[in-house]
Amino acid sequence: MLWPYLYVLPAVGAMAFAFGYPLVQVIRDSFYAGNFASPIWVGLDNYRGVIEDPAFHQSLVNNLKLLLAVPVLLVLGLAVALVLNDRIRGGRQYQAIVFLPYVLPAAAIGIAFSFLLQENGVLNTALREVHLGPLAQDWLGSSRLAIVSVGGLVIWQQLGFAVVVFTAALLALPPETAEAARIDGAGWWSLQLRVLVPQIRPVIELVTVIMVITMLTWVFTYVYILTSGGPGYASSVMELYIWRSFSNGANGTAASVAVMLLGMASVLIGLSLWVRRRAVAA
């Protein structure tokens, strides 16, 4: 009876070492100040300091603002996938074009866009050239627009992923359902929205969860390269806040925000799974 446990022991041990140990260590560090060599127990002071810090509030709000990009991504991704699913001419080429940004390194994209979006960068110059000067904005230097620019860039890059996943899900659907709907007189919109989309609902939920996690914990590179969190803290996000704290040697502060971020992501994922279970049960 002991053998099965012994067989899984190496895997469990590896998992505990790779995930469990760092997690416990981060939680432990969040209760200490000072450097790793001589940590000082401060209890909940790191959490208090973070909660009272306006720079953290700003970072948190920005992460929440980025969550607004999730429905945009889903709607756009779904729309493109549905059109491509209609076997349009050149569909595969379009799919490759849409997917291309997703395979480019985020750092390279960030650098390219940081030049594109400057006040006198390519985008604004082009807008001015075609007499659309009033639309030219300081995309990176304006505290109002900096986080919008980051969100736009994330949407542009992640759209390919959503499209590919949705397209794959649509292609996997049995063709009979759509055929039956067509015979019953369903129009294009009805077919898409009432027949196809409901059938790929689990996939939409999965992409939603992935995108939520992305917006919370996977945008550091874009923010760091595009705006460095500025102007001021106008486009800072929690990841950047963690990095800044850690690079300043404030390990405890960095750890406490990491724990909070983990908690938030876990709650959101748990919530999503709960909603999904309820939907399946209904």
Partner: protein, 451 residues
């Protein structure tokens, strides 16, 4: 059952062999001679300098090749660092006491903070005093009676103006503004002539940090007054310290700064003057030397001290610093080898090669001034050797610099915050630094008491 036992035995034997192999490897590594032979070492050098002095990376590469040729058992790996992550990358490495043998940081606090944290060793313990006495600017990196880093160059920040654009705006091209009022008057005329008066880049906050160092210091009588504000003996909200944000906001409001100030990087901002896109700026000696080539030397550009804005004694000081400094890490197994290489960078051939490659003056009394022939360069050298020179940013704790000095200026240049918001940010970050780093704060206070 028998089969399972055999499999388990085999796995156990494999694990035992692997553990034994690992242990023997580790033991052999530990058994390596740890002798610090200056002529037999592998050194890693985290280097930064190109953004101050274009040509610096190429110079170091050549010096390393020369040194390795002369010392066949020494191997030096240079890892160039970026401006954005210069401090943070080293701070992160220092957390685990691993990384380079030689590191670069900006002078004073960025050098002394790791020293106080036990991440570096005093260079004065490894380099003879008779050598060190030739180095210029060593006072920037002194603490506890020891020198912690080696200067390589003297970086002055002169005020520069484009003579052709001045002429176009009806200004005297041979007379640069000497006071802030004159600068504003010139800016008004330049703007009226359709010329961007003043250029800088502040997406990353360094443009604002320079404004603090160049203009912000001008109401102070000595740098000790700034130190007092860092340890809470004076308030940064006092206009004496923070009034300069009003001047920066004024430049922005009047449209005297380049329109893309908030969206281009500091380095891009430094290039604007040489690209003839702005009429006035303040740039490093390295960029001034480069701009002189594109603008036609003394006929095309003027060089002078920063216009006077404040009323303190430091208003008339020039802004020269060694900027970046090299130090030996406490975890290096070859501090003597590292020190010997750093000393090599101050040999006459290295100093000459440095000046030739960068146009920036070496921080060494042995550098012959006779090598400076260009009239503009002569003016810059004279400014750099001004009796009082100080770079205030060096005296701000790195955390406060990164979290307050840099973003506060961004608030102003982006128009998203007022000078009052900028001051609030400083005060908040000074308080945060004290609470997050009580050890650093104690060391800083002790250093202030040393005088």
């Amino acid at each position: 059952m028998m089969m399972r036992t055999r499999v388990l035995a085999a796995v156990g034997a494999a694990v035992a062999v692997a553990v034994a192999a690992f242990a023997s490897t580790a033991a052999s590594q530990n058994a390596r001679p740890a002798a610090d032979d200056p002529n037999d070492a592998d050194l890693t050098y985290w280097y930064w300098g190109e953004d101050d002095a274009p040509g610096a990376n190429g110079w170091l590469k050549k010096q390393v090749a020369l040194y390795e040729k002369a010392h066949p058992n020494v191997k030096i790996t240079v890892v160039t660092q970026s401006t954005d992550t210069l401090t943070s990358a080293f701070t992160t490495a220092a957390q685990t006491k691993s990384g380079p043998d030689i590191a670069t940081q900006w002078a004073t606090l960025p050098v002394l903070t790791p020293a106080w944290n036990g991440s570096s060793v005093p260079i004065s313990d490894y380099v003879p005093a008779k050598e060190i006495k030739n180095w210029i600017g060593t006072s920037e990196n002194m603490s506890g009676g020891k020198l912690w880093a080696m200067p390589q160059y003297l970086l002055g920040i002169p005020f520069v103006w484009n003579k052709a654009l001045f002429k176009k705006a009806g200004l005297d091209p041979n007379k640069g503004p000497k006071t802030w009022a004159q600068l504003l008057a010139a800016a008004k005329k330049l703007k009226a002539a359709g010329i961007t008066p003043f250029g800088m880049g502040n997406k990353d906050g360094y443009g604002g940090a320079w404004f603090f160092s160049l203009i912000g210091k001008q109401n102070l009588n000595s740098i000790d007054e700034l130190k007092a504000a860092m340890i809470g003996k004076a308030k940064f909200s006092d206009p004496k310290y923070s009034g300069f944000y009003g001047a920066l906001a004024d430049l922005k409001k009047k449209g005297y700064l380049n329109s893309d100030v908030a969206s281009i990087s500091f380095t891009q901002g430094l290039q604007l003057f040489g690209q003839k896109k702005v009429a006035m700026s303040w740039i490093t000696d390295g960029f001034a030397a480069g701009a002189a080539k594109t603008l036609g030397g003394v006929k095309g550009m003027g060089v002078g001290p920063i216009p006077i804005w404040g009323k303190g004694k430091l208003a008339r000081s020039f802004d020269t610093t060694q900027s970046s400094s090299a130090f030996i890490t406490s975890w290096s197994k070859h501090p003597r080898a590292a020190a010997q290489f750093l000393t090599f960078l101050h040999t006459p051939q290295a100093l000459r090669a440095w000046y030739k490659a960068t146009g920036v003056f070496p921080a060494d009394k042995r550098f012959p001034a006779s090598l400076v022939k260009d009239p503009l360069a002569k003016q810059r050298l004279k400014l750099n050797l001004s009796p009082v020179s100080v770079w205030p940013e060096n005296f701000v704790p790195p955390q406060v610099d990164g979290n307050a000095d840099l973003p506060a200026g961004e608030l102003i240049t982006s128009g998203s915050g007022s000078p009052a918001d900028a001051v609030k940010l400083w005060e908040r970050e000074i308080a945060k630094w004290k609470s997050q780093h009580p050890d650093e704060f104690r060391a800083y206070s002790k250093w202030v008491a040393e005088g």
